[in-house]
């Protein structure tokens, strides 16, 4: 079932690459924002969300810190990973210790996908709900409902499991002239 697929994914897929499209819906469902980009990860705790549309923005987890850089604003911010990661979507995808961070429950299949509910064990992580979906054994989608009821859904395509990913993809280098805030 989907819980087995998630456990296999965490145990067997040590790195990966995919394209993603993201739709964020306001709690009342009235406002939606669509974006897309590429996702790469390397266990444990290294990941890169590179948004390309409608604007560029990158989130890099280097194993110690999470960096967010916005080229339009020429501003980067970083925070310690333990403070940032905990039981978060990034930990669900690229974390190294699934059962320490989450309580897992298989949900009914929906839209041809097998869903797992991941309940953070440590505090509530600020989420109402965190769900991940597989198509067979392949990562397919992630859905986050935050404490306000805002829903963010990422659908993954062109998934390559255990792809060799150069280490520098998980290193963030502050561009010349950009400002950095360390939180």
């Amino acid at each position: 079932d989907a819980v087995a697929a998630l456990k296999d994914f965490v145990r067997e897929v040590k790195s990966g690459r995919a394209q993603f499209s993201q739709v964020v819906s306001s709690p009342d469902g009235q406002r939606k924002k669509t974006s897309s980009g590429s996702f790469e990860f390397q266990r444990p705790n290294q990941f890169r969300f590179a948004y390309t549309k409608p604007f560029e923005q990158v989130i890099v987890g280097d194993g110690q810190k999470v960096w967010i850089f916005d080229p339009d604003l020429n501003q980067a911010s970083s925070r310690r990973m333990s403070q940032a990661l905990g039981a978060t979507p990034a930990a669900l995808l690229a974390g190294g210790n699934l059962e320490r961070d989450f309580k897992l429950k298989a949900l009914a299949s929906e839209g041809g996908l097998d869903w797992v509910q991941a309940e953070p064990k440590q505090g509530d992580g600020g989420f109402q709900s965190l769900k991940i979906a597989f198509k067979g054994s392949e990562l397919a989608a992630l859905e986050i409902i935050d404490g306000f009821g805002q829903r963010s859904r990422l659908d993954f395509t062109a998934v390559t499991a255990n792809a060799p990913i150069p280490a520098e993809r998980f290193r963030f280098v502050l561009p010349a002239g950009a400002d950095l805030i360390e939180q």
Partner: protein
Amino acid sequence: CSSLEKRPPPLLQVAEGDVHLNGRLSIQVNNTPNGRPTGGNVGFDLNGRPSAGQLELSTPLGSLLARATWGGGEVHLKTPEIDRSFEDLDALTRELLGEAIPVAALFDWLQGRPWPQMDSRALEGKNAQGFEQLGWRIDTSRFDAQAGQGLIIATRGPYLADPAVVLRARIEP
């Protein structure tokens, strides 16, 4: 103490002529006691008008970090950690962003123009484009008022070269 007893947040009363602005903003507060700048970058949605409105801040992954609502004399902030009222928007933004931000003026500043309620002065200098108001310098040289999109940089002194606060907003159409 600036926190009032726990009351439900004011509901956003939508009215004719309400503004809806969204995009991304970064704030950097340099004049901190330990000298280390604070702040960060977030997505924003600003709705309503100075007298009644809502400001939402979110992460790139789409999770809401904070929702500020005001109207009818009430000012309220909800985050995953806190859910309480404030005396005014200055107190709320100081808690949220580390610096008091003139939210009422933002409705006009983020459209590339001075807030009509207060005096302002056009920037001087060859390529300068923008204005000064409420002790802030607003650079609109990279903002397309026609298209309603672009970058607005607001800095608060004392020195232009080393501002105490820098607020950058990238407004999306």
